[in-house]
């Protein structure tokens, strides 16, 4: 059964679809966790699956299975991170899980899709679920509505631009299959038409990654959506977008210069803009949104060389990005007792209130900034090496300077929690056993990927 992981996640979504119809809503969390865990195990077991389905439009290979595993890991962690902390309206919980499931399903299909139509269909399955998930927040004010509308409009526009680019691709290749496009594209890649077709097609994925100039949605949507939703949007769709970017970049591997220059410029702007605007952010989620914009820029260093090494470095970076970002969001979720948005000031005295949470946040922040021995450093190193190897010294230098700029605001998080005293009336935070375990899991994963990268790296190099 080559499609088993997708089927399990589909069942996950459908079960919650039926649950949403009924009256009695107990043990939803336990059910979601159990189902997500089953999905994870099944995906883990089917990493060896190979095959082509739907007359070659859907390819199941090691590359896609590794990405599916990462995506399901993301879903699993998000489901475990979710708590009954007034984040999502109780009445909508089954729908919430259903939409999470469908979105994950779409992303899993996306990494297997090797044909334009199936790419569009999978992308939209995932995107529409996300558009619907954003407003499902227990009302703070109406910001979640505004965020949802913005996300829908910007997302639809990005999709439209992608379809426009795909039209050109089809026009050049007379086929919607990536394999055919790969054959005929090199003839066009030294013409403006070819460059335009590829770059317009990439727009939808740049949008998902919140890469400059398609970054502007991120801060508002991060701020408006509930903490858990943001944790999902900030990490899992980016995995699938990276997968597609690597697939598409490989298409144009023969004539790289113009496309690479485009990525170079976007990466440079994305990093610099994300980090400089990040400096002045007060809201934690907005800060993480700008940090995400900057990281999308770093990621491009791996795509730019259009090489296997670069691809593996990019995937490695996204893997560690998944864990360090979720780790940050987990601290936010645990800290925001009523599901409210936190500002940087709310972190004051965290080290006193909960040493474990403070340490988790600090490790994630140092990792995002790229300080060894955390995974963020190792990932950045691989990206730097692959970009430098391909001759892009400029972007490496820009990335290096940006790492210093970003350190200001990441360090600010650590400083707040370690050297400021808590405001009056803020007591010790008691963590339940499973919450502590999840914190330790994040910390161990970040350190493991930092110190002992060889195992995971070898798997990813084989996959790309």
């Amino acid at each position: 059964m080559t499609l088993l992981p997708e089927i399990v996640i589909f069942i996950f979504a459908v079960i919650f679809l039926f649950l949403s119809l009924g009256e009695k809503k107990t043990n939803l969390f336990a059910a979601a966790r159990l189902l997500a865990l089953i999905g994870f195990v099944i995906t883990l077991l089917s990493t060896g699956a190979r095959g082509e389905l739907f007359s070659g439009a859907y390819r199941v290979d090691f590359f896609s299975q590794v990405f599916k595993l990462l995506i399901v890991t993301g879903l699993l962690l998000v489901v475990f991170m979710m708590e009954r902390r007034d984040d999502v309206e109780d009445d909508y919980l089954p729908e919430y899980f259903m939409l999470l499931g469908f979105s994950t399903l779409g992303l899993m299909m996306l990494v297997s899709a090797v044909e334009l139509i199936s790419i569009v269909v999978s992308l939209e399955i995932s995107s529409f679920s996300l558009y619907a998930i954003v407003p499902l927040r227990k009302s703070q004010s109406r910001i979640q509505m505004e965020a949802a509308v913005k996300y829908l409009f910007f997302g639809a526009i990005a999709t439209g631009i992608m379809l426009y680019g795909m039209g050109y691709l089809y026009g050049m290749a007379h086929s919607t299959f990536l394999a055919d496009i790969m054959v005929s594209l090199p003839r066009f890649l030294n013409q403006p038409l070819g460059i335009m077709a590829v770059s317009l097609t990439l727009v939808a994925f740049f949008f998902k990654l919140s890469l400059f100039p398609l970054h502007f949605w991120a801060p508002d949507i991060y701020e408006g959506a509930s903490n858990v939703t943001t944790a999902f949007i900030a990490t899992v769709p980016k995995l699938a977008a990276t997968a597609l970017l690597i697939r598409l970049a490989m298409l144009s591997a023969s004539v790289p210069t113009e496309l690479a220059m485009l990525l170079f410029v976007l990466a440079a702007f994305s990093m610099t803009l994300g980090n400089i605007v990040g400096l002045v952010q007060k809201d934690l989620k907005r800060l993480l949104a700008y940090s995400g914009i900057a990281h999308a820029g770093y990621l491009m260093m791996g795509i730019m060389p259009l090489s296997r090494d670069g691809g593996a470095a990019a995937v490695y970076y996204m893997t560690i990005y998944l864990f360090m970002n979720l780790s940050c969001f987990y601290v936010i979720i645990l800290l925001a007792q009523k599901g409210e948005n936190l500002s940087v000031e709310n972190l004051a005295g965290l080290a006193r209130r909960s040493p474990l949470l403070a340490f988790t946040l600090a490790l994630a922040a140092f990792s995002l900034a790229g300080i060894p021995p955390s995974g963020g450093f190792t990932g950045k190193l691989f990206l730097f090496v692959s970009a430098f190897k391909a001759g892009y010294l400029g972007i490496v230098l820009i990335g290096a300077v940006n790492a210093v700029i970003s350190m200001f605001y990441y360090l600010n998080l650590v400083r707040m929690s370690y050297s400021r005293e808590a405001a009056a009336g803020q007591g010790i935070i008691q963590l339940a056993f499973h919450e502590k375990v999840l914190c330790y899991v994040f910390n161990i994963l970040i350190l493991y990927l930092g110190i002992l990268p060889f195992g995971v790296l070898d798997i990813l190099r084989r996959a790309v």
Binding site: R415, Y418, S419, L457
Partner: protein, 495 residues
Amino acid sequence: MMSPYLTMNHLGFPILSAVTFLPLAGAMVILLLRQERTIKIAALAATLLTFLVALVLLANYNPATPLFQFGEALPWIPAYNINYVLGVDGITVMLVLLTALIAPLCVLCSWTAIALRVKEFMVCILLMETAMIGVFCSLDFLLFYVFWEAMLIPMYLLIAVWGGPLKDYASIKFFIYTLFGSVFLLVAIIALYLVNGTFSIPAAMFKNYGFNFQFWVFLAFAIAFAIKVPMFPFHTWLPAAHTEAPTAGSVFLASILLKMGTYGFLRFCLPIVPQASFYFAPYMITLSVIGIIYGGFVCLSQTDMKKLIAYSSVAHMGFVTLGIFSFNLYGFEGAMLQMLNHGITTGALFLMVGIVYERTHSREIYDNAGLSKIAPIYVGFFGLFSVSSFAFPGTNSFVGELYVLIGAFARNRLAGFGAIVGAVLAAAYMLRLLKQIAWGRVERPALKDMNVREIIYLLPLGIFVIWVGFFPRPFVGIMETTLANLYTQLKHLAP
């Protein structure tokens, strides 16, 4: 992975891994402990054990060969040809020993001074020790860089959590400043990797790279190391960090962290990019001399004891870089000796300030004046270390500065003359400090003299001051072969 520069370890157990990771193991154990007293004892035991292993290392060290010894090599990230390679030579064996000696003193000096979050403090100290020894032992660029950067986190926490009133400002400035330097170091390391195909440090040495390449690599290295030393225009993080850090943090900063910059010059700049080093030497010498004189003048106007000692570090480290860029054997040996001497003497002075601060809660000179009647032991030690600080004959720094001055005069008379002026300034500000501490106006009714614990941790430093002062031969002997080898290799490569 194997390299002709490295002789493998024959001791039967991986001694360098042991000395590097023993403190880390200690930190792990401490995480499981609850009682403050047991935590302190465990930290002391871990650091003392590390020192013992470091002594074994020194005893087995063969000073007759310039090769790296006690080598250990394991593949780490094969996909990028990154290996776990450790080894020490005459330069690093002494620095490892210095680190291992300073760490237990840092634990001892924090015994009562740190009352808050003792467990985390001791963990930070031990993590620092692992990272610092790791920096000196690594023979793989990436391993080196990981230790080099990882050091920032515990050091940042030491300042930010247990620091003085301006800890916020000082800790962030320290972190960002050093990080700024190190990212260029990383870029240079990647550049060398792409040329050599390996991250091995010995494999990158004494090769004839193109001058243009050397030029840029030198600049990238120099920014990182000059900030760490710190050399004159990059020194502004140092007074803030030294002043606000807790005593143990100041001692680590002064004794070990500053040495990493000069170690970097000696280990990386000179052997890897010799022509560029030679080309830039006049500039580096100028900056060193400016640092020596500037540091001296700034010290003259300080009223804060810690700040004074911090600025005096700028001047002292100027002597070290002056020696390194004199490009002769006397200069190298003097620089190495001064690195050790500065580590001992300035570390001791910070410990002295810590002792008096614990009693008066003030770092102002005038709040701690006139102690000679009340605390004679204290003033005795203070006198010894302050005369050592301005290189009085018979103390350790005299030997080191003499070597550096001989080297500097051989290279450039003007530079040597400038350094002499600095040496006179050093006498002026240290004697002024000593005069106030010993005979200044007394405004304080009572103050306890040093207790046994404090005497115990200052005694080894005091012995070292006098030992090197009168009999430096064994210390010079250990590093001589390595430095002589460096000198002859450079003569071939640089004009």
